[in-house]
Symmetry: C2
Subunit: 412 residues, 2 copies
């Protein structure tokens, strides 16, 4: 019998009828001869609603208490799913991160998994039970509850698949797989049948929300096949794995955008060695991840430069507080925030070796008069920061320019 780790997202669990539907699906997988470990996210908008409550009682909720608060969401889901499975006549048992000993470091709201004790799960499987696990949460060595950051349930699922030696990690969601672009924005977007870890990693980090970036990194590291599929059909979704030969032929596999970031600019930083190091060291110390960084050339004659970078919006307030201090320390003229930006990206394989990919993207944007504010490129992606209100049009025009809506041969 094979062991499968399944993960169900909040949209697949948003009401009692959907929960019962997931229960039936889990049982069907078991009856096909598999042993099942099921990771759940919080129901529907639970996490967002809890965060709204937090901000009503506190201007800056303490992060330790945020973890205490939002980890309840997954605990509710897991108990309801276990009840629903049990009610259909199959024994099921749920576990919190604390009970399973999903050991993390102590960085509240974005902890990293250090270790998972699989004894409790293995015992439950041996006893013939379907094992339900609260995603997104762990516990540090002082018994403090931690959470893994946005999309953390994906990471829980992949880490468990690794720890248990599962055959596959199935990620159930409300779409049928990974698309060349968001089908709500680009009607002729195509579902990808297969995708490399690398390409998925770029798509995820650039805004495709079906899978969290860190979970893909872990899957890549330990070579765990991921199957992204819909919880409402039986169709095959998108397989993500190491060797995707046919991918070599596909230059650009998708277009995506992201409105979660904000741009911060520190004005008139003295153009001396060590300034950038000083700025980004302080941000790193606050556990804030910076995405794109642009330093303009020195302004003629005055030996000063502007430094811009992007952070996720939820870190913006904290970042700006740090920037106020840092700006004084380095003798800059202050910092300004801009949360009206979007980042649009194309992702593929070997872009640098195919000349003209960047040019085609810029031409596409120019053809509809969209201004580019920042650019960053890597081996497998090109991203442009533009105005947020232009994002959807940008995705459509780029998708069309690269002819991603045309049929491609199914890779062998």
């Amino acid at each position: 019998m094979g062991l499968i780790v399944q993960k169900y997202g909040g949209t697949s669990l948003s009401d009692p009828e959907k929960i019962r539907g997931v229960a039936r699906r889990v049982i069907r997988s078991e009856e096909e001869g598999n042993r099942l470990v099921v990771v759940v996210s919080a129901l529907g908008d639970t996490t967002d609603n809890l965060m709204k409550l937090a901000h009503k009682v506190s201007a800056r909720p303490a992060e330790r208490e945020v973890d205490m608060l939002i980890s309840t969401g997954e605990q509710v889901s897991m108990a309801l799913l276990a009840m629903a499975i049990d009610d259909l006549g199959h024994p099921a048992i749920s576990h919190t991160g604390t009970q399973l000993e999903i050991i993390t470091d102590s960085t509240h709201t974005k902890a990293k998994i250090l270790d998972i004790n699989t004894k409790r799960i293995k015992d439950a499987i041996k006893a013939g039970k379907i094992v339900i696990v609260a995603g997104f949460q762990g516990v540090d060595l002082s018994q403090e509850i931690t959470t893994l950051g946005r999309g953390g349930s994906d990471l829980t699922a992949v880490a468990l698949a690794k720890a248990l030696g599962a055959e596959v990690c199935e990620i159930y969601t409300d779409v049928e797989g990974v698309y060349t672009a968001d089908p709500r924005i680009v009607p002729d977007a195509k579902k990808l049948d297969v995708l490399s870890y690398e390409a998925m990693l770029e798509l995820a980090s650039l805004g495709t929300q079906v899978l969290q970036s860190r979970s893909i990194e872990v899957a890549k590291k330990f070579d765990i096949p991921i199957h992204v599929r819909s919880s409402s059909t039986d169709k095959e979704g998108t397989w993500i794995s190491k060797e995707v030969r046919a991918m070599e032929d596909v230059l650009v596999s998708g277009v995506t955008y992201n409105e979660d970031e904000a741009k911060v600019t520190i004005l008139d930083v003295p153009d001396r060695p060590g300034m950038a190091a000083m700025i980004f060291r302080r941000i790193a110390e606050a556990d804030i991840n910076v995405d794109m960084i642009i330093q303009n050339v020195s302004k003629t004659g005055i030996g000063r430069t502007d430094v811009s970078f992007t952070v996720v919006k939820t870190d913006l307030e904290k970042t700006m507080e740090i920037m106020k201090q840092v700006s004084d320390e380095v003798g800059a003229k202050g910092a300004v925030a801009d949360d009206g930006i979007a980042k649009v990206s194309v992702v593929g394989v070997g872009m640098r070796s195919h000349s003209g990919v960047a040019a085609r993207m810029f031409e596409a944007l120019a053809s509809v008069g969209i201004n580019i504010e920042m650019i960053s490129t890597s081996e497998i992606k090109i991203s442009c920061v533009i105005r947020q209100e232009d994002a959807k049009e940008a995705v459509r025009v780029i998708h069309k320019r690269f002819e991603l809506g045309k049929p491609i041969a199914k890779p062998s």
Copy 2:
């Protein structure tokens, strides 16, 4: 500095503004020179709403999973209160029952506290923190989450007061203390300034909802003073303690009623020794508490009798399942349930030695044509089962008959 355990119920925490109000009250107590341990219930109707969800996904939710589910309510409260206190500039830290090691037995949904490890609380107090604790929940020796039954947060508070050697356990609620009857039903009901553990115990077990019965038993056993008071005023509430001398003079201290019970009658039980033992042994094995038991005299000539008893409505379904089997086993004619009853009770001191108390109660009910279905008496209470629709009128007429609305001298 004195140590105070405070407990806030769900109605005191039903919205963000009330949570901030509780935070200010906690801080005021601290600024008066006390060290604070604060136990919280779930916000407003959270527990009921979670149970409704459970019943939508499962006809008979597994009790282990019920505990997983409903224990999240208190975890949400504690995190929000800790954030709110922190936001007002006082360090606070919340704890789950698992983290504190509030060790219980393994009887899910009505576990008993076995031990509390106070190290974590003491360390937090030493570090100058206000300690927030999730009420109602504990953990068994296998790391399984348990809950303590309805009103269990009161028990958490009293047990912590004992374990920490607190000066007093303050129970904050939405009324100003314990009354001679529910003021919503009897407008001239009076607040009691002091009350003995025994009288409070009867009032609680008979339907007065300000304090859970088991919490009073523990307070009585360890002589912990309880102060029941309002979270919206600074008025003194009702003190509950061992020696209440003036109480000796007060024959009846309150009238209360309870609509939470249902009556079960087993029909035509053979009137032989051991029948009752067999019936109630089976109920006890299912961890169901029986309240009143009435066995009628044998029906003339046929050697059979009806046995009636009351259980809380939440146990009714389970009880009826057991009764169906037991009825066959003892050769009875089946069991019938009646959930349209109420129990109305008078509570006081030395009732048996004051003749006529029972008679006055029965007269009061008869004067408005209310029929009595079951009666039970003890040293300090008399209870009558009547139709549920008559309950409020019964409370009013009894309160008047015993002249409980008249002023009494404040006890010394």
